[in-house]
């Protein structure tokens, strides 16, 4: 039996021994232990160093509010820094390490800060480290950064998986203590869909550490029986190891389930943690109450714990907090702990009650000091004695642990996360949950009902009310007979006067009463200012233990009530949640879905290199054997298209089918160019503006029937344009008789471009597609040989004789293969978006590189398209604004490099020859650039101030980011075939 493990008692399985290590030392515990209880049992009291002063610290609580007992659990890539030992379930093989110490826990250099503490008062860093100016970042800041922080990570890739899930219920009960179990039982028997979530690995809450018999049996046995019934109810979901961390709008709760944080060898088929979004019609918070520490001199030494933690370690885990325990209380809870310890044969050094008188009775033989206090403690890595004070008389009392009880605060965190402010209760000397509406109520100790019987009744009563609100018959439960109960009354004591050493309020961040005094003195007395100035409440425990005392102390200093001081804001997360759990499975390759073109397989078979284009994978270029760089491939593809023909996958374009008697009118209002008179069987380039007059998207409009259009969008804005059209149809003009549908995925679409395109296509298409029968901009359904229905559009992005052929997606690969076969004799090649980009650039066509949301049609050289005679279209009115028509706007131009050995890249800026670089002198920028195999040099599209007036000017292309400056000649943006002879051929 280890040093502090009691001979019997507790809910740990003494027949089941678990091995674990702490800072490399091999230790043992039992199934049912937390890491904290096992460490205590092994006399491992010192767990870490505090944040600022590096003071030795030990375990202070037995639950999720723990400020001190933070360790790193696990090793390698499975290392979890800042794990609370008080909630970490012990398992065989657990490895734990202390934090924030160097070189070792016992001998920590940083502890020198403790000696310097008078210089390190709250906010000291705002007042110094300013001289010399450069020293802050070079010297002081690195030192501060290294000293701060707790756990360590070098950010290795996490080997474990996470999962997110949705759950729905009529009633969510948070907390499986007496109130929560009673509530869940009533709701379960009444037929509600119930979820019972509990952060602990055993359900039962306070019943697990209570001793008063319930229904004639130990309370944990009673709890077990209730849990069993709930487990067997099909309408109940039990969620142990699940912390409800957030309450969001519409009664959506966030909860974290620790699925595999209790094993050394993980099951790869399961996530390590699971995030639940629980949509609850109603919720009951049965989250219990938190015992407050007392603020006295030296109250942070290892061995000093809350009294309820001392009781829990004794009753639930069979571990004595010390061999001789001093108890310091301001209410009856200290007496209960005295009874618990006495019953288990643990020596009580003294019981000090800050109240001069009370009805509480100390166990027989225990020395009771009424009206006394502790003003200091002794000891280094474990408390060895307390300095008790009674009426100015000081006495040194030996002990090796201190149990302190400063009264109780209901745990109302979740109920305050949506803006409601806690309400101060003078009677309970505590902040209570605000009225949160019918969907969320508190019950039991969380509602200020501390007695066990009250908890049962309150939980059952509130569940019954919810059952009835839902419109069902509530099935009541009979409250079991409960043995001797204690009522934890207390007299608030925010801090103990006469402290002989630092009295800590926030343990982890080392905020003591002196810091709060300084804050008030310097004008930071507002509770938010005090928090931000002293950092009280900003540690990993978010002030769960300390804030209430800080508020009480501030109230005292300012001479107001705690109600007037108020609390800082309660915000998610109740306890910290891993990035992994919140991200779930939507990481790495699953971060966003991948879209594959129907021609993906064809492209892959032809050796395509793929590139991300939004969610799509698009074929970028098709390297052939012997080609060493992408440029070689692209140059070849460009030349092949210009000389013979090429086939490119354009399936990713957005495609929308538009129907209805008002379809033409609708499209006429959407596009800035005329659409109404587009003949059936014809296509037209279309430009859509935003209402602010800037270009939104471009594409083609084809009229397939009088009341039937087919429009395409760019790949990038397919979704956006659809929404834009839906807005126009549903909100702006609901009277127009038009319906439309995205058919992007129905069609595989390929561009066949080049002088040989017609010959190749004709081999596959049944219909006559001669220039006469199928002229430029023809658009209609055709039949392919082999009896396949298709759509053919004679449109060109490359400037070549070109067609876009659309076939049902599943047939895309087969048709592409057929075209490649038919084209082989003509020297066809497959080409990708890189070549497409060069081809369109040579032809001066714009893409979203040019149409970047700040460009008007006129800027892009498309001003003549505007149907100014149309009565209305989106963007018409604001296009006329002064700034959009100003003469010095940047206009689309072409650039030809004048120094052949130099290139131009997109993103370069433009300067007049000889001008000094400055924002004022900036003449524009390069939007797209490439090497043109056709022209044999580098060319670019650029936006240049008043550019169309400046053709022929020699201009500086200024790319200081790459350290490149080069001369270029400004020219018309159309570099090839300005007469469109190839297009019309």
């Amino acid at each position: 039996m280890s040093a502090f493990r009691l001979a019997s008692g507790g809910l740990v399985d003494r027949s089941h021994t678990l091995r674990f290590t702490f800072d490399g030392a091999s230790l043992t515990g039992h199934a049912g232990d937390t890491l904290a209880s096992a460490l205590l049992a092994n006399d491992r009291l010192l767990l870490g160093r505090s944040f600022k002063y590096h003071r030795p610290r030990g375990i202070m609580t037995a639950g999720p509010s723990e400020p001190n007992g933070l360790v790193t659990v696990g090793s390698g890539a499975r290392r979890d820094p800042n794990t609370k030992a008080t909630v970490a379930e012990l398992y065989d093989g657990l490895e734990a390490r202390s934090q924030n110490r160097w070189p070792s826990l016992a001998y920590d250099i940083g502890a020198v800060n403790n000696l310097m503490s008078r210089f390190l008062s709250a906010g000291f860093y705002y007042k110094t480290f300013m001289w010399p100016a450069a020293f802050w970042e070079k010297v002081y800041e690195p030192l501060i950064r290294r000293a701060a922080g707790l756990g360590r990570t070098d950010l290795p890739r996490d080997p474990d998986a996470y999962e997110k899930s949705w759950a729905h219920c009529d009633l969510l009960v948070v907390g499986a203590g007496p109130a929560g179990l009673a509530a869940a039982l009533v709701a379960a028997r009444s037929g509600l869909r119930v979820i019972l979530a509990e952060q602990d690995f055993v359900l039962g809450g306070a019943l697990l550490s209570e001793t008063a018999p319930v229904g004639g049996e130990p309370p944990y046995v009673f709890a077990r029986r209730v849990v069993e019934e709930l487990q067997n109810s099909p309408n109940v979901t039990l969620m142990p190891r699940t912390t409800v961390f957030g309450w969001y709008d519409d009664n959506v709760f966030g909860a974290l389930e620790r699925v595999q944080k209790d094993v050394a060898a993980l099951d790869a088929a399961k996530p390590v943690e699971r995030l639940w979004r629980i949509v609850a019609k109603h919720a009951i918070l049965a989250t219990g109450a938190e015992e407050r520490p007392l603020v006295f001199g030296g109250n942070d030494r290892p061995g000093i714990m809350t009294a309820s933690a001392v009781s829990t370690y004794a009753n639930r885990f069979g571990v004595a907090a010390g061999k001789s325990v001093a108890i310091f209380t301001n209410g009856s809870s200290g007496y209960r702990t005295a009874q618990d310890l006495a019953a288990r044969g643990v020596e009580i050094a003294v019981l000090i009650d800050s109240r001069a008188a009370s009805g509480d009775v100390a166990p027989d033989g225990v020395r009771l000091v009424r009206g006394g206090s502790i003003v200091d403690t002794k000891g280094r890595q474990r408390v060895r004695a307390v300095v008790a004070d009674r009426g100015g008389f000081e006495e040194l009392i030996g002990c090796d642990a201190v149990a302190m009880s400063g009264g109780w605060s209901p745990v109302i965190h979740l109920a305050c996360q949506r803006g409601g402010k806690p309400v101060w209760s003078e009677a309970l000397q505590a902040f209570m949950a605000p009225e949160a509406g019918p969907a969320l109520v508190t019950a039991g100790a969380a509602a200020g009902h501390y007695r066990l019987s009250e908890c049962f009744d309150d939980g059952a009563r509130k569940a019954s009310a919810i059952v009835e609100a839902i419109g069902r018959q509530a099935v009541g439960i009979e409250r079991p007979v409960i043995g001797e109960e204690t009522d934890p009354s207390f007299t608030a004591l925010w801090h103990v006067p006469g402290a002989k050493s630092k009295a800590f309020v926030d343990f982890q961040n080392d905020v003591h009463t002196g810091d709060l005094g300084l804050a008030v003195r310097e004008g930071f007395g507002h509770v938010e200012h005090a928090k931000r100035y002293t950092t009280g409440g900003m540690a990993t425990d978010q002030g769960k233990l300390g804030n209430i005392n800080a508020i009480g102390i501030l109230a005292g200093m300012r001479g107001v009530s705690p109600a007037e001081v108020g609390t800082t804001t309660f915000r998610p997360f109740y306890t910290p949640v891993s990035f992994g759990a919140l991200a779930g499975t939507s990481v790495d390759g699953h971060a966003m879905p991948i879209r594959r073109s129907p021609l993906h397989g064809w492209a892959a078979r032809n050796g395509a290199v793929f590139i991300d284009a939004g969610l799509w994978y698009r074929s970028s270029w098709f390297p052939k054997a012997g080609e060493k760089t992408w440029r070689e491939s692209v140059d070849r593809e460009v030349r092949t298209v210009r000389e013979n023909a090429g086939l490119c996958d354009v399936s990713t374009l957005g495609k929308i089918e538009v129907f209805g008697p008002d379809a033409a009118e609708f499209l006429s209002r959407l596009y800035c160019n005329p659409v109404l008179k587009l003949p059936v069987g014809k296509a037209r380039y279309g430009l859509m503006l935003r209402e602010d007059g800037m270009v939104y998207d471009d594409g083609t409009v084809s009229r397939l029937g009088e009341d039937h259009f087919f429009v395409t969008t760019t790949t990038a804005l397919a979704g956006g344009v659809l929404s834009h059209m839906e807005f126009a149809a549903q909100v702006l003009w609901p009277d127009l008789r038009v319906r439309f549908l995205s058919v992007s995925d129905q069609w595989a679409q390929m561009s066949i471009a080049g002088p040989k395109a017609r010959a190749i296509l004709q081999a596959v298409v049944e219909d006559d597609i001669s220039n006469a029968a199928f002229p430029f901009l023809a658009a209609r359904a055709v039949r392919l040989k082999g009896n396949l229905k298709a759509r053919l559009f004679r449109i060109s992005f490359s400037g070549e004789l070109a067609y876009e052929l659309a076939v049902p997606a599943g047939y895309g690969e087969a048709v592409a293969d057929a075209l490649m076969r038919a084209g082989a004799p003509h020297g066809i090649c497959a080409y990708g978006v890189e070549t497409l980009n060069v081809l369109r650039l040579e032809k001066g066509h714009v893409t979203h590189a040019e149409l970047d949301g700040r460009v008007t049609p006129d800027d892009a050289g498309l001003g003549r398209m505007m149907g100014t005679s149309k009565p209305d279209f989106i963007g018409k009115r604001l296009s006329a604004r002064f700034g959009l028509t100003a003469a010095d706007r940047a206009q689309l131009v072409g650039l030809k490099v004048l120094e052949p050995e130099k290139d131009i890249r997109a993103g370069a800026h433009l300067l007049k020859d000889g001008a000094k670089p400055s924002t004022l002198n900036d003449q524009g920028w390069v939007s797209s650039a490439c090497f043109s195999p056709t022209l044999g040099g580098h060319i670019a599209l650029a936006f240049l101030k008043s550019g169309r007036e400046r053709y022929g000017e020699k201009i500086v292309v200024w790319d200081q980011l790459r350290g490149v400056e080069t001369f270029a000649e400004v020219c018309d943006p159309v570099f090839v075939d300005r007469e469109n002879t190839k297009l019309m051929a």
Binding site: V252, S723, F727, P734, D872, K876, L878
Partner: protein
């Protein structure tokens, strides 16, 4: 709100299924309305704190544009209406 929206066509759905456009009150002026009216429509917003009407589109559901009437301080939702229907009411 902000977590769940009750689409009149699809039922209660999470926020992620929607695309939000903004204030639903401005009405697109007639083509020949004044410059001021157009500037007001495109650029100016009352932006009150409290009860507002906002355009949400159920993109992952029925793809209808909805008018969500809600309080932008408490995040309470009062009503969700199909925008075409809401428009009829306004006319």
């Amino acid at each position: 709100m902000a977590s769940l929206i009750s689409c009149p066509h699809c039922g209660t759905r999470p926020k992620e299924e929607f695309f939000i456009r903004g204030d639903a009150n401005p009405v697109r002026p007639a083509p020949m309305a004044t410059d001021e009216a157009w500037n007001d429509y495109v650029h100016l917003r009352v932006n009150p704190r409290g009860r507002i009407r906002e355009h949400w589109q159920h993109v992952a559901g029925c793809r209808r544009w909805l008018v969500v009437e809600r309080d932008n301080f408490t995040h309470e939702v009062f009503a969700v209406t199909d925008a075409a229907k809401a428009g009829e009411g306004a006319r």
